[in-house]
Symmetry: C2
Subunit: 484 residues, 2 copies
């Protein structure tokens, strides 16, 4: 019955010849053999439907064959990828320095002997966190909580805010015996009626609580019960910005007035707004930007109300906007209370201000609480991003991309509301139908691009997206837009 | 500015000498050099507090040095681990067949070129799912949804249930334009008032919605807003079972009556119970068992009300109870509607009945939707579990453990309510204080064991836990209980 046989350890003889099947260089340009998605992708989609829903599946990719900025699909098409797994790959596909991590014993051990991090961390866990997440922490936020994805990070950011807000209301004291007994029946005072303010067009995830903050598309929300939490408008600017200064300023002002009113209304109902959660750029909702003045005003209102200011940088964090954290561009006098990340940061999680630290065990907790394999990758990613100046590169390449798109825009009236910072560039098309047609035209020419909101095209290349990639991107856009 | 240098691909020269630092054999017995946790763990805990909360951190482990059923801590103590990262490691530490996966190119590619699975799966993704999750699917549930952890799986299981229930109420039709517009303001009819029935003592995770179903300990719930969802009692049996048949039968009956009443009450308020979620054995809540008759009765009531029956096997799934899924032991005539898993299944997710499939895109969706690296590990785990008959082994070893514990119990009145199936064995101590003292006594003797509920000890060894390990376990328990 003893399962462990006393054979020699086979792992020691690991040969790496298998890794030779992973691509090692980037194509010089897109190469399309079929329409996108092609027949093999369509066949795989049908096969997948036997075991797993596939309604959102667009195409199947051969990730071993993909490299750098280029993704290879099931039909052998090579596409320049400016969507990058919904903005989640910082260094593109199969970066050689990351592939080398296959020889790191921490990696395989962490994968097959996965710790319950909240109770039994690895001996080097604090060190891992320092070398990865802390080395790029937003100014003023020196502590971090790891989680598994953006949604679980946002959920726990809200919990942290509720715990803080409740403690403040008790004068800093721990929960009373009555709090502890009443919460088991989900009654006051232990279960408070605090709310979270979020915005029209926002996207913060798809768990039930985060859907109560998410308002990008009805199909995400319909049929799902929600918390009755307040909604405020997020500015909707006219472009170009320098020709619409007064209009846009009024947008800021009207939105801030609405927010102040919500704080007052909810306080009157005993449903205090314990936290405000906002994206620096509304992404899924349509790449809506707001001014530093708006964010500064929002932080001020939030602070005056004793509420927690949560900046959801799940999609903006990690460098694509030309600063490591997008909120650095606002010039805030004090840091946000919580900054949430995921996607390009490889792991989910959030930074928080010292005052928000939860000191009791098991309040912010779960079995896995993150994944060391992701921190090992992030440690290397951060090192490469710093050494190669990739955040600065995103800023410069993004400026090039945007200014060249301006030129295309000047000769084509289908490109509307061009906007963006860093490579986080977007434009609208006149209708949803034309936007979707544009995506098809671009993909069929070998540019893998994504949409957002009702009629926007969003660029989400990796940080290794360079001027030569931007030039190819622009050529294809120029061709595709003419077909729309 | 071009970052990708045309150097040869360094990955090809990966040497595996580093992997020699991973342990390759199991100690023959525990070996304690310090108290548990020792001074090095305590120092690391202090270091960790500078960058990450540590209130729940018990000890730091050296996972590279751990092997099989034995974990090595920061102080070099070797402990027989019957807690196994809160029941989440199916094959113990650093199983050689899993370590060999380091050479699998799918593994490193999936880690560094992580797909957004909902939109762009790997070409071999359906195949991966078939060889891992589908190969052990509960009878009657042939489709699966991958997620990242137990909580996100439960969240999406609830969403699936709400979507199904709403569609049924509409006669199977899709949401109306009014549903779609009203849900953006979180109002009826698009945002329904459906509820979920869960149980006293239950644990289903710690996101806001899952906390509304979780009722194991106040500290998890206090200060966090919740849905006002119904709560029913879960049977509380007297042991030994064969001496308390009438009492326990009445428990079942009273609980089922209460549940029926909740369905009626909520329907009257327009807050229909769209789903019932239950653990086969309440784990965090204190290892509370219920009879097959209770579960059959519960399924019957749920079905009669057109509601969705969700079995949360996050902790019970994967073999430790002596069947791959614990609910197999109930003899249900039809399968549950949804079975949720995580922990020993390496990945989170849920199986669902064909009728519950969500056919519209982006309703059950997120960026990552799981993680192929976990499926690659699971594929190998499942193969080993089947080849080596480890589920049957858990049954046999568990019977041995329980019968020997009965002998200890007969000479010591501190061991109460001995219960369990497979190695999923538990007993109570008279008080929380004595339980906690017992854990310390056992850990200091080299048995890493965990508690649950108010005063329970729970055994959660891996599936490679054998009779020899059970014998060492029993010896230490025998010594430790005398000190309590």
């Amino acid at each position: 019955m003893y399962f462990i046989k006393k054979t020699s350890y086979i792992g020691r003889q690991i040969s790496c010849r298998y890794l030779k099947t992973i691509a090692t260089s980037e194509p010089s340009k897109p190469d399309m053999k079929t329409a996108f998605p092609g027949p093999k992708s369509m066949a795989l989609k049908k096969e997948m439907s036997m075991v797993h829903q596939n309604a959102s599946t667009r195409a199947f990719f051969d990730y071993e064959k993909s490299f750098g900025n280029y993704v290879v699909d099931a039909d052998g098409n090579k596409l320049l990828d400016v969507y990058m797994q919904i903005s989640s790959l910082p260094l593109g596909y199969n970066h050689p320095e990351l592939i080398k991590l296959a020889k790191d014993p921490r990696l395989i051990t962490s994968l097959v002997s996965r710790p319950a991090l909240g109770s039994f961390p690895r001996t080097d866990y604090a060190d891992m966190i320092k070398k990865s997440l802390i080395s790029v922490a937003p100014k003023g936020l020196s502590e971090v909580q790891t989680m598994l994805c953006g949604t679980s990070a946002n959920e726990n950011a809200l919990k942290t805010a509720f715990i803080y807000y409740s403690a403040q209301k008790r004068g800093g004291k721990p929960p009373t015996p009555k709090d502890l007994s009443s919460c088991m029946n989900q009654q006051l005072p232990g279960t408070p009626k605090w709310t979270v303010l979020a915005f029209n067009g926002a996207f913060h995830g798809r768990s039930l609580a985060m859907l109560s903050c998410t308002r990008s598309k009805p199909i995400h929300k319909v049929d799902i019960p929600a918390h009755d939490w307040p909604i405020s408008p997020f500015p909707r600017y006219k472009y170009p910005l320098n020709e619409n200064i007064e209009y846009n300023k009024k947008q800021d002002k009207d939105c801030l007035t609405h927010i102040s009113e919500q704080f007052k209304l909810r306080k009157e109902k005993g449903e205090d707004i314990a936290a405000v959660i906002i994206e620096p750029i509304q992404s899924e909702g349509g790449d809506h930007h707001a001014s530093p003045e708006f964010f500064k005003g929002l932080q001020k209102i939030t602070k005056e109300n004793g509420s927690v200011f949560i900046v959801d940088e799940v999609q903006t964090g990690g460098g694509p906007t030309g600063t490591f954290w997008c909120h650095e561009q606002w010039g805030l006098e004090t840091p946000p209370d919580i900054v949430v990340f995921s996607k390009k940061m490889i792991t989910g999680g959030y930074y928080y201000a010292p005052a928000l630290k939860v000191n009791e065990g098991y309040r912010i907790f779960n079995t896995w609480m993150g994944d060391p394999t992701k921190l090992i990758v992030l440690e290397k990613v951060v090192q490469i991003v710093k050494e190669q100046g990739l955040v600065e590169q995103a800023k410069v390449v993004g400026q090039f991309l945007k200014s060249e798109l301006q030129n295309i825009q000047s000769t084509n009236d289908k490109i509307l509301n061009l906007r963006g910072v860093g490579t986080y560039v977007a434009f609208d098309l006149p209708t949803t139908g034309l936007r979707d047609k544009f995506i098809d035209e671009a993909c069929n020419r070998g540019l893998h691009v994504g949409g957002c909101g009702e009629k926007a095209i969003r660029f989400r290349p990796s940080l290794v997206y360079d001027k030569k990639h931007a030039e190819i991107t622009l050529n294809i856009i120029n061709e595709a837009i003419k077909q729309v």
